[in-house]
């Protein structure tokens, strides 16, 4: 169990910034080690090389990889993401990774991939990897139609995408849980990523099937390598680190009641 093997701080060069909506962007980074070395659900920590402010890297899912580059999808929520939304091609970054356990291997032959907005990022890579071998049904929830360009961008990668919106102004009215079946079958699994409220609702919706649900969680991180204990969440076995014990947990492991 050598989680850390291969984890290093690599140089990453921003190649392309794409604006999808006023708040959502993608960036391609040239970084062969990550492009070739990461599996679905794993993430990286990204920081501006040689800048001490912002100080820490920020965690982002590896959303896809092509050749020597990988891309991240992100939403502007604070200091780092605001700066990332204005990068110029050629800017230098430090990319720590590949981090986390990832989703692992599917245990059945059908996957429901369930995403709340940017939660789709790690699932894009899951789809890229597994949609050839098994049935992947992808559900994406967004608040409203201002997210249209985002859903369209996702649909280009996932043709059969099912879209839901909270106010009904885009796709089907409802959350991304709306179109899921009443029960999860023996050879079916749900892999999900999104706001914690959504993941909690998912756990509550299938109290008997939690072992068939894998969720990718978020937490504030400093190290990403399991050293600082900054990213812990409550599980049935006590506190565990999202960065190395996760970010993907079985829904039955998570102590949902203790998560805010």
């Amino acid at each position: 169990m050598c989680i850390s093997e291969g984890i290093r701080d690599f140089d990453g060069i921003a190649e392309k910034l794409q604006k999808i909506t006023s708040r959502v962007f993608t960036i391609d980074f040239h970084c062969p080690e990550i492009a070739h070395g990461s599996s679905p659900g794993q993430f990286v920590m990204i920081r501006f090389k040689d800048r001490l402010d912002p100080l820490l890297g920020r965690p982002f899912a590896v959303a896809s990889a092509k050749g020597d580059s990988f891309s991240v999808w992100f939403q502007v929520v604070g200091k780092m993401t605001a700066l990332l939304s204005e990068v110029s091609p050629g800017e230098k970054f430090t990319v720590r990774g590949p981090l986390g356990n990832g989703f692992g291997e599917p245990s059945g032959d059908k996957l429901f991939l369930v995403a709340g907005t940017l939660g789709v990022a790690p699932l894009l890579k899951v789809y890229e990897e597994f949609s050839g071998r098994l049935d992947c049904e992808v559900h994406l929830g967004v608040p409203d139609k201002t997210w249209k360009p985002f859903t369209e961008q996702v649909r280009q990668l996932i043709p059969g995408l099912r879209i839901f919106s909270d106010d009904g102004s885009l796709g089907v009215h409802g959350t991304c849980l709306h179109g899921l079946p009443g029960e999860i079958g023996q050879r079916e699994e749900i892999w999900a990523c999104g706001p914690v409220g959504m993941l909690k609702a998912l756990a509550e919706r299938y109290p008997q099937n939690r072992s068939g649900i894998r969720v990718s969680l978020e937490a504030r991180m400093a190290c990403g390598i399991g050293g600082c204990q900054g990213c812990v969440i409550e599980t049935v076995e006590g506190k565990r680190r999202v960065c190395v014990d996760g970010p993907v947990f079985s829904s039955e492991e998570v102590a949902w009641d203790e998560i805010r």
Binding site: D9, D53, P54, Q229
Partner: protein
């Protein structure tokens, strides 16, 4: 071991191939991180704090970034000394790099029991770092290090239980750091680590509440470097045992400044979040500095700015 190593120092009973030591609380126990060759340039590594019993650490937000700084309120989460001895010690002692076991001062009885158990394994443990400076717990922690008298009590106890090299990690929240340093030296510490994090706080303006459950948290990172350097200078004026500079070191230049102020080694914490290869880049920087000036070794640098 490279005996021709320009960067070699002997520090508080530990021989270090380089003066750069990973500070406590930032390094995982996973095996790969303790192999001498995995992270070249490091002279040693401090473990995360060990306490008698398993501690869950603090609830709520534990880390918060500030300008060029980081507030943390981890609260000594660890699995207890039993687990450390059985599971972690075998792993970390195999890698070959000197390590220092950080022991958090809780109360007299608990901590002396921890040290007693470590003493049983003395041949496997290069040094202990007694942490009388953790700002993130209610029981003990930094309260010990605020005053000369309580610091002396803690070190006196530790000195009786643990016979190996003893480093003591001081807190910037000491009322009079020089007085604390002298008291700790008198009780037989082999080296002083100056120092732990600086007491700070953050308020989340959206919720109008302190970010941390305990309101206050410890500030680390480059923003505090000038403060830590000053404190190292003060302590080096007060004692004769080796001092290890710690706080905000983020470049080989910062290492040099700490050494020139009188430190024998430096501990680096937060910078490992920024660059895992810091050990390597800092030691290369130091080496080049020495070579460019025809200096023979660390002795030509340590305390240079005081002359």
């Amino acid at each position: 071991m490279r005996s021709d190593n320009l960067l070699r120092v002997s520090c508080g009973g530990v021989e270090l191939d380089s003066p750069i030591v990973v500070a406590s609380g930032v390094w995982p126990f996973e095996k790969d991180f303790w192999q001498r060759d995995s992270f070249p340039g490091l002279g040693g590594i401090c473990t995360k704090a060990v306490t008698l019993n398993r501690r869950e650490g603090n609830p709520g937000t534990r880390i918060w970034e500030t300008p060029a700084g980081l507030l943390n309120s981890i609260g000594l989460q660890n699995r207890g000394v039993e687990h450390f001895l059985e599971r972690d010690l075998p792993v970390i002692s195999e890698g070959g790099i000197p390590f220092i076991v950080n022991v958090a001062m809780e109360n007299h009885d608990e901590t002396s029991e921890v040290l007693r158990r470590l003493e049983d394994m003395r041949n496997m443990i290069p040094a202990v770092e007694l942490n009388i400076s953790c700002p993130n717990v209610s029981d003990g922690g930094m309260a010990w290090g605020r005053f000369a008298e309580t610091s002396a009590q803690a070190v006196s106890m530790a000195r009786k239980k643990w016979k190996g090299p003893l480093w003591v990690k001081l807190t910037p929240q000491a009322e009079d750091i020089a007085q604390v340093a002298r008291a700790v030296e008198e009780e037989g510490a082999d080296a002083l680590v100056v120092g732990n994090t600086w007491l700070g706080m953050a308020i989340d303006i959206d919720t109008a509440r302190p970010v941390f459950e305990r309101a206050f948290a410890g500030l680390s990172g480059p923003g505090i470097f000038p403060l830590a350097l000053r404190m190292v200078w003060e302590v080096c004026s007060a004692v004769t045992i080796p001092v290890i500079g710690c706080g905000g070191v983020t470049s080989y230049r910062d290492c040099l400044a700490m050494l020139m102020a009188g430190a024998t080694a430096v501990e680096v914490g937060t910078v490992m979040f920024l660059d895992l290869q810091s050990g390597k880049s800092f030691s290369s920087g130091l080496e080049e500095y020495l070579l460019a000036r025809g200096l023979d070794g660390m002795k030509d640098i340590i305390g240079k700015a005081r002359q």
